[in-house]
């Protein structure tokens, strides 16, 4: 069975902390994506990666960075967490030549 695993379902962090959200996929997919989902705003693309060591900015990259050192792992980093980064974060992966993306269950991050 296809699996995308996000390291935490719920996370509470303090303003100014450096936060790491981890995503691991077991399908040998080349492409990986990070989104945040907010009521009324839908899923917005933060960063994506077409392959190892590659990264591209999405529509809302400010305040975030990413790391893709291994094919199966895509990390989202909040350099200095702020309250407006409180959100549901979703990771997805996809094979290079396929349409279908597979999503993790999400991490609900609260920054206090």
């Amino acid at each position: 069975d296809v699996k995308v695993t996000q390291s935490s379902r719920y996370l509470v962090k303090r303003t100014g902390e450096k936060v790491f959200l981890e995503c691991v996929q077991d399908m040998d997919h080349e492409n990986m994506f990070w989104y945040r989902q907010d009521p009324g705003l839908g899923l917005r693309l933060i960063y994506f990666s077409y392959d190892v060591k590659m990264k591209e900015k999405g529509d809302i990259p400010e305040g975030y960075s990413v790391s893709r050192e291994k094919k199966e792992r895509f990390s989202l980093i909040l350099e200095s967490a702020s309250t407006n980064q409180t959100s549901m974060y979703l990771c997805a992966s996809r094979h290079n030549s396929a349409f279908e993306a597979f999503f993790g269950q999400g991490t609900r991050l609260t920054v206090v």
């Binding site: 989104y35 529509d59 979703l90 349409f99 279908e100 993306a101 999503f103 269950q105």
Partner: protein, 107 residues
């Protein structure tokens, strides 16, 4: 930036009724996808439409891709409570999502 506009944002109807959800853009997409998301879960792909004018059916759900590949629709016949959820359209390649249609079917 490519944008996808979904309408309506919310829809609450009685079981057995028909409904249509729309996904529109000013941009041409090589394909459009429809996902469904349940509370506490990530979106799951329902269908991908690739060719302009294409129609795909998934049981009581009918998906259509516009001739110009700028829009798509999802039609549900005889809606059931199990159809309740958030329906999202998405454009390929970066997978840009519309804001979604939250559908609630009343028994």
């Amino acid at each position: 930036t490519q944008l996808l506009e979904q309408s309506p944002q919310f829809l609450s109807i009685q079981e057995g009724e028909n409904l249509t959800v729309y996904c529109n853009s000013s941009s041409v997409f090589s394909s459009l996808q429809w996902y469904r998301q349940e509370p506490g879960e990530g979106p799951v792909l329902l269908v991908t439409v690739v060719t302009g004018g294409e129609v795909k059916k998934l049981k009581r759900l009918t998906f259509q891709f516009g001739d110009a590949r700028k829009d798509s629709s999802l039609h549900i016949t005889a809606a059931q409570p199990g159809d309740t959820g958030l329906y999202l359209c998405a454009g390929y390649d970066k997978i840009i999502f519309g804001k979604g249609t939250r559908l609630h079917i009343l028994p």
